[in-house]
């Protein structure tokens, strides 16, 4: 199927999320839509998928103008979209999810659908088990399931919105292979991304959006610098980090085990020194989250001992960890990190603590003004956290950190951020290391870990199977460790 979008507009009040976009996706190709956060990529795709109504423009499918208003209508016309957050039913099994929306009538068609699903899984070399409950799957596996479900509905055009966010390199490889296969079978794939590397590796052609308009398009082979300038106007500077001298031991774990995620954490022993920047690598859900939460005092270890600056912390509550200067920033900002309904100013007032009965609104206001400017948060003191974009939420969280922190624990701190925001975050965090703060972060992007961390811990199946200095290893060796081979 050939898709043509003509002069597409989508306006929200005075904001023009899409402002006259023209785009053609040929049959049997993989087409990349590139752009930084807020460029209008997702909006355009949600309109195409029937998820939100357009303000103006025409959608032409195989030379016929089509008008539809719901995702179901769109999928009947052969267009299906994989959203950033999987839309499935976690308490049901993979097979049950697969059957939803397909299996009608009274008779039990489980057998038939099981066969169909297993065929599809084999066809794409996926690894999901039809009988496992969806809540036990990783994001990458849920993606696979959703993709197979769309395909069995007869989708001809598959739209993927940031599919490589939060999935491991292995799953990414499986995903990319399956997409190439789809294209070779004559289906069209549209990949929405802000990751240059993904688009370069996969797409036959990319179109770049900036502020709701098309700024250019390019075919293979790509010129990365030119693409970056289409995305940002000018290429952002790569992050640089000056060497830091380490101080004394901040955190010391001995034989720590704990529960959580799918693998838990077992028998983890490490020492972290002042000024260290440690990257946690590994498949998502291999114990990094448990590790960070135990170090932060949120999850209690089932076994082992943990100390800060030599002081034993076993049996201490969260408050004691806070007092020791430990800060944890979770990956899901609105769910665990910020108060969605509270304004920026209220966040600062909340952080202030202190023993006074009344809130010092004047101070909170001036502090929030000062910090939002310094941290380049796009919002006023009265903007509520929910209304901020992902990058701005992350900046707000960082601006709330105390300078006196001794240990920063960051779970995927750059998840969903564009290149510019990412660089800014790392530049900011490196200043903490200069002040002798130890920083531990997890990431699904091995290149990011390689370029940022001084020391790398590789998690596999709930254990740390590799603990190495950055300059003593390479990507290949780490990739092997991530897959469980040391």
């Amino acid at each position: 199927m050939r898709i043509e979008l003509r002069d597409m507009h989508k306006h929200y009040g005075s904001i023009k999320a899409n402002n006259g976009i023209n785009l053609t996706v040929e049959e049997g190709t993989i087409h990349g839509i590139l752009g930084e956060n807020g460029a209008g990529k997702s909006t355009l795709m949600k309109v195409l998928a029937g998820y939100i109504p357009k303000t103006g423009g025409e959608i032409i499918i195989d030379d016929k103008i089509q008008d539809y208003h719901t995702p179901a209508d769109a999928s009947r016309r052969g267009i299906g979209m994989l959203y950033q957050e999987p839309l499935d039913y976690p308490p049901l099994t993979v097979l049950e999810n697969f059957m939803i929306g397909q299996a009608g009538g009274v008779s039990n068609k489980t057998l038939r659908f099981r066969e169909k699903l297993e065929d599809l899984i084999r066809h794409f070399n996926f690894t999901i088990d039809p009988d496992v409950r969806v809540k036990q799957l990783t994001v990458g596996e849920r993606q696979q399931l959703e993709m197979l479900r769309l395909l069995s509905l007869g989708i001809e055009v598959l739209i993927l919105d940031e599919p490589t966010t939060g999935i491991s390199d292995l799953q990414k490889e499986a995903l990319f292979n399956s997409l190439r296969r789809l294209a070779s079978e004559g289906k069209s794939v549209i990949l929405v991304s802000h990751k240059l590397k993904d688009s370069e590796a996969l797409c036959d052609r990319v179109t770049v959006l900036r502020e709701g308009e098309v700024t250019g398009s390019m075919e293979k082979p790509y010129d990365a610098n030119e693409l970056l300038s289409m995305m940002f106007g000018e290429p952002p500077l790569p992050s640089t980090r000056s060497p830091v001298e380490y101080g004394g031991t901040v955190l010391s774990m001995k034989n720590i085990s704990g529960l959580g995620e799918r693998t838990g954490l077992s028998r983890c022993t490490i020492d972290v020194r002042e000024g260290e920047m440690i990257g946690l690598a590994g498949l998502e859900g291999s114990g990094q989250g448990v590790f960070l939460r135990i170090a932060a005092g949120i999850t209690k270890p089932t076994d082992g001992s943990l100390s800060f600056f030599g002081e034993d912390m076993s049996g201490k509550n969260l408050h004691a960890f806070k007092k020791a200067g430990v800060v944890f920033l979770p990956a899901s900002r609105l769910e665990e990190g910020l108060m969605p309904d509270l304004s920026i100013q209220e966040h600062f007032a909340l952080k202030e603590g202190g023993s006074s009965f009344f809130v010092k609104w004047d101070e909170a206001r001036s502090e929030s003004r000062e910090k939002t400017e310094k941290f380049r948060v796009k919002g006023t003191p009265d903007t509520i956290a929910e209304a901020l974009s992902g990058g701005n939420q992350q900046r707000l969280m960082l601006s709330l950190l105390s300078k006196e922190s001794t240990l920063l624990l960051l779970e995927q701190p750059t998840r969903g951020l564009d290149v510019e925001s990412t660089n800014w975050v790392w530049w900011h965090l490196s200043k903490y290391c200069l002040r002798k703060t130890a920083v531990i972060f997890s990431s699904t992007d091995l290149d990011e870990i390689m370029s940022i961390a001084d020391r790398i811990l590789v998690f596999f199946d709930g254990t740390i199977i590799k603990d190495v200095k950055r300059d003593k290893t390479d990507t290949k060796e780490l990739a092997k460790a991530i897959a469980g081979k040391v």
Partner: protein, 362 residues
Amino acid sequence: MQESNGINTSVSRRDNAIARFSRDLVITVLVVVSFTTLIIVLAGAPPLAAYYHIFKGSLGSWVKLGHVIRVWIPLTLCTCGLLYTFRIGLWNIGVEGQVIMGAVFTTYVLRFGMDGRMANFFLIAAFTAGVAGGALWALIAGYLKTKGGVNEIFAGLGLNFVAQGIILWLIFGPWKRAGIASMSGTELLPRELWLSYVSTIRLSPLGLSLALCAIIVTAIMLRYTKIGLCLKALGSNPNAAHIFDLNTRLYMLLAMVFAGGFAGLAGSMQVTGVYHRLIPAISSNYGYLALLVAMLSNYNVWIGPVVAFFFACLNVGSIQLPMMLQMDSSLSGVIQGALVLAALAVHAWRIRARRIAEETWY
């Protein structure tokens, strides 16, 4: 893009909000009026006359207005209390039982002063006991919630039944009048223990000022204090409490204490200012009604008392209906219920519309 005209957008946003609010209000009122009119017509009464009698019965004279304010006081106290629990996201449906326990504790103290001596001392002690009684009853629900993981709605509802049981047992058992036990309640308090009132309109200035104080205190607490801010924060996202080092359980209990305290105060007012004895229906369902008031006022501390006044008018005015039109006075309940349902429906509908319009665009 958004910052450049930040001021303009915020002004126009406020204009929009006012326009939206007025539009919602008109729609809600229209829905309710047509629904109520339909009910009245079905009941075989003339609608205009019914509305007229409700109006005349509530605001038709100073005495009637005094009645309305006597209803408004406990309703406002309960509503103020509920604002604390709603702020932190708790559904304190047990407010009804908290009013009852406030009344019970008040009566318990006053029974020691039946000879009328040291009246002021006993009144102060009784009010304190009433506040404590309501707070204690709320704390039980709060404790079940924070320690036992029992949903506060179930705990509150259960405790309402227990409180109702206790009050009936007291009135027909230990506290019955010598020789008789009846629904009309315990022995009348001596005059000295009645809250002083302006005789022409039977309205207690002290009660009125307590309610006004409650509004102001609540407004200040929610807007200007750390407690208010923390309640709002935890109501917004309890999962982020650890980031800001907030003790969720403590604040939940605190909110319950405030809600129960205000409800208990309402119970004290009912005993000392209105009925001058303990009766089985001492709470007059003001607790449940206050839940409706809080919801209808969109949990706003300034709109709440206005809505409470309107509800009080309906309650007092509809007493006229059986006499004048041979209609049941429960029409006020129909109107109140319809109002809340319509308001919630309009509200939900608006949120949905906004969600669709503001679909994230990046």
